[in-house]
Symmetry: D2
Subunit: 388 residues, 4 copies
């Protein structure tokens, strides 16, 4: 009998991880953006690639868009394109960091005109959400300053609240605003939403439809991220995850690749706090495949989340509670580690096959010839990227 | 004419920094606590030393106590002793990290008996506050766990809230509870109050008399502390500072010694946010003089805060605002740095003399012979320390 | 057939990890050292406990001593005691951080008398090595300063070299000196041997019998430790490991508990560089069991090293090389992760049994009644600790 | 009389800081490169701008070039252009991070063809050095890997040594190779030259003409950089500085802006170790002016170095030595801080005027109209940047 009990299988069956359209485009560092054959030239091709990830894993039912990178003439048409390929359009991500006007801020800018422009951009994003049927507007703000004295941090914070209120007021009944925080980059002295506390304080005063987005790469060195997961779930304000991993800063590596044990701890805390397969808590990827292939990079990522979810679900919660109750540090830790060290891959492969999927999605994708096909087909045009 | 305008002088005149009684006892690391001649043997001697700091600086009108380290038979008597020496008894600090019962937690412990014991300790502290006339109960919790799985972080957080509510309910009309957060140590995996967000969330649900205490050494590497100062002032929840400095972890070095520019930025943000000489925002030291002399170490510390306050008050706020408004990064930064680089020491020396103080409190203390006297007098007995 | 090939089994059979005598005594933080029933009162009892770890694992054939904590009247007698229990006396660790004379330095001190005293302490350690039959003198220096300007870093570095030369000259033909580095603590501004580069430069100019000791907890946040392992092996200067783990600073947690994947990468690099079961590269533990039981804490630790060694040996090196050669990032990473994710525990349990050991050493120790016995027997006397 | 003694003035007079040509082009982050009016379109215009910095400060006698960004048809012509403007061509910087071939390494690549191409690029750089009269070839390697297992770190290190030997062999009698290290970025798992120890080990085995380059932004959080300065000077291997500053990672902010006290400590250690105005130790800037004006950004930078040098020279070395000798921690630190807190700006302004320079170079530049002129003149063409 499989180590994956029916209960665990049921949880795994419900699991869905949203893919970021931009992960299929080129990305890199300030030093270089390397290109790859087959990279999409438009949102339609990005969605086609994302649908491939879902085809081989049944783990990625939706795709997040980034505006303006994914602007199209007809979002209805894009939506139909996605649905034809078996996926949905998901979260809409705004962009307030690439317009020349936003050099010194957007939603926090002291210039009314620029701030209004940034607000209007978000209202436009909500219009798009109406067309795509998206629930979430995700706001990550690159705003901040590079030198002490450059900006008035307090006034910026107040203006941020005002701007968010205006945006919030435009949300539909079933729509949400999720505010992402980030420790630093691209601002190098202060960032206007640098930590979960700031994001929480900002969204708490907006209302029930405003939540926090936790990007796993956006913390100071050494931060206990699962603690924040616990706390935000406790406070009812964990709206979504941006999964990725890092060794240093916001490296945007494949989720689980830098510290698999940390991913295990995070997902365990999600389970503990009732956040798994809870519609209030969206699972998303936000990664950069600077040097590795993009589609298999995304497949690897959703599999990592799935495998770690299986491990987290394997924790013997009763035994854990008993050891905790007894203050038996080594026993409690052993229960925890036992689940982490269990190799769930064979059981998952079997389970996948039982659902009509390939046992090894990575191998199946490689064998499918899709990569070769897009490399051959997608000649000419401009490969998608961040346009930095 | 002095660079210290009448307005600045007025601010400086009001400034008071509370001293921690334990700074006058021995402290050290897990590797060694070195002793020094003249170290106090009891709370009375600690207060005598603290009063010396105030005598030479007029900057340290009160002394914080730590219970049980500073337990005495009569707090009324201790209070009179302090007042006779020209200082007041200030914040009462609780201790939930040295009793064997607290090995796995205190206010968060799953064992009702232990949790109740820890709560009762705080109620006793409030009794002492009634006797000493102290306003603030400062709670720093060493609680946490060393290994993943050891504790149920979520349940601990909930129990913490319950415990705090019980303590909060006992506060007098004019009393406050300030909850300190700390990144890590002595717990090495998770800490129950690890960041300002947690402290804020906990105290916000208690009520108006509960505030956050910000210890400048209790953050992850790279954290922008002045941003947190700004945010807590904005949220009306900055109750007090524990000043010290560090290069690495919670080094507890003399405030301003590791990064003077950071101290400048912090105090500027205090000024900006209306926190200077605001009774709601207490300035305290929390330091360890492991290898340097303790009394001059404290004198140096309050002088550092004073000097940096003078610099922060020198910032040309109009010029700064104009440069910010113009997005002139270099000009804004220059206005800011100009104040920091101004050598306020000669003007402060003059001003001190005008108030009947020694121009150079460090030299005056050294010349006073007090250090030699206590070294000669305080022979026998057990030097005060943390009793770790 | 076992996943542990005969080659892997042969490597595992040779593996030996030295235990630190002090891990069996009490330890803690500057805030508190908690006691435990059954803690040894003298070096003989520490060795008895260490021998238990070896009895249940056959992984811990030797015990490191710390002077003066482990001073005894007759080292010959202590040696016989150890050998009777099936273990050897190993590395001798010196201590230059607890004598009042060493408050401002020892081997680096500007005072000739103090420096000479510190050198003489090391010569005495070598005398003890002659008596115990130990090969290695391990030098970890707590020396440094807390405030900029306090010490002349350059002169201290030069004096360190001179002191080490004197000590080095006293080494026997088969003896070695290993110099440990540490990022910070107990010094909080500068440490005289803060990084591998300094340790390397110092020992390189001493000669072939001087090597670097790498403590896995002694690095700046984010440091790629396996890179340093690779580099020191390449330079022929990796003398020994002090294994432990950490989330923040020098937490001294159980090896592999904070970041098991990091331990895997480190041991893989040891294997890659020819350092496994190479007598030149000693494996040691250096941990603190502040809140967990000490003997099972050590058993857990050597098992963690063994399990991770098995995983590192499972890496398909040919497949890895092929993927690297092809610049196939995802394939190379997959080969690497495949070994890490393999659950080696069942095969190791079987293999242990085939060698006459308990399949589960933790359970076997718990069932042995030894812990209860020492708790009952070791009453009275002073429990061993650091005496800080 | 000025606080700047004749000895100090003599040191200041000799001071020269090399400017990076690329600081005058556009730079930014992976999120955005903002443009500015007046940005140079070619190396000639960059040098013209650099010459302006020197004109107003007499602190910047030379300009470093980056190949291929600064490739021109005739380096003799470029050299004459520079000399006509009163500056020299300085260090030649190679680039092995932007060619598609270098995606997985250059000097460390396993592919002989690519490695040879990277070596040849460096030989071409030396040819250019012959033409420009440059002494130093600076090698910063972006090489590394993003995922564990991706590369064979050990083999890469060995190939790096071989490649460097080939390049080293081509150096002229008076030419040098300086090898820069960097903690991380653009590689996010391992970097082939991540720390000073690696750079030192690599150049030590090359020979006397190979030295280490220390970029102040290329260290792990909390690293004591002045210690490394001390150590490299002690080992005779400090070849050059890349000055800049940072709060987080390699932020490349204006030198001295993030932590002025750190810059003071670094320059003090340079003075202490005989590195000031020592031709072996080149002072260079390596910064990004992402949002501030570039020419005044560079003026501000060289002034910051000058001001901090003046402060470092003001340290009363005899008093410092006496306090250190007496183990008087507070006194030694006070001597040190006294110099740091001294406002040297008025004396420097006076001294500048005595040398025929503007007292305030920032104001003088602003008043010169040069910025307006280049903004008006440099219309059309492609603004210089990194071409990432």
């Amino acid at each position: 009998m499989s180590i994956l009990t029916p209960d665990i299988q049921s949880e795994l069956e419900q699991q869905g991880i949203e893919l970021p359209s931009w992960a299929f485009g080129n990305s890199g560092t300030r030093f270089r953006v390397f290109a790859t054959a087959g990279t999409p030239r438009d949102p339609y091709e990005k969605i086609a690639d994302a649908a491939k990830v879902n085809e081989f894993t049944k783990l990625a039912p939706s795709v997040a868009l980034h505006i303006p990178w994914d602007k199209v003439d007809s979002y209805e048409d894009l939506r139909k394109h996605a649905e034809d390929l078996g996926v949905e359009l998901g979260t809409i991500n705004s962009n307030t960091f690439q317009d020349e006007d936003y050099k010194f801020g957007a939603l926090t800018h002291h210039d009314d005109r620029i701030r209004r422009k940034a607000i209007d951009h978000h209202l436009e994003c909500i219009d798009i959400m109406d067309a795509t049927g998206s629930r979430d507007l995700k706001i990550w703000l690159a705003e901040g300053s590079n030198y002490p004295g450059q900006g008035d941090m307090r006034a910026r914070q107040d203006r941020l609240q005002e701007s968010l209120q205006t945006i919030y007021a435009r949300l539909g009944e079933e729509q949400r605003l999720v505010l992402e925080y980030k420790f630093f980059e691209p601002a190098f002295y202060h960032t206007d939403v640098p930590d979960w506390g700031t994001s929480y304080a900002q969204v708490a005063s907006l209302g029930d439809k405003a939540m926090v987005c936790l990007d796993t790469g956006h913390h100071a060195p050494g931060t206990n991220i699962e603690f924040i997961v616990m706390q935000l779930l406790r406070l009812g304000k964990l709206g979504s995850f941006d999964f990725n991993s890092r060794f240093y800063a916001d490296d945007d590596l494949i989720v689980g690749s830098a510290d698999p044990f940390q991913l295990f701890r995070i997902i365990f805390e999600v389970v503990r706090g009732g956040g798994l397969n809870n519609p209030d808590v969206a699972f998303m990827l936000d990664q950069c495949h600077n040097i590795e292939d993009k589609i298999p990079g995304q497949i690897r990522s959703v599999l990592n989340v799935q495998e770690m979810t299986a491990r987290a679900l394997l924790v013997d919660r009763d035994a854990l509670a008993a050891a905790q109750q007894a203050n038996d540090v080594l026993a409690a830790n052993a229960v925890f580690m036992d689940a982490f060290y269990t190799d769930v891959r064979p059981a998952l492969a079997e389970w996948r096959e039982s659902r009509g999927l390939a046992a090894d999605p990575m191998a199946a994708y490689a064998a499918s010839g899709y990569q070769q096909q897009i490399a051959a087909d997608r000649v000419g045009g401009v490969q998608a990227g961040w346009g930095a």
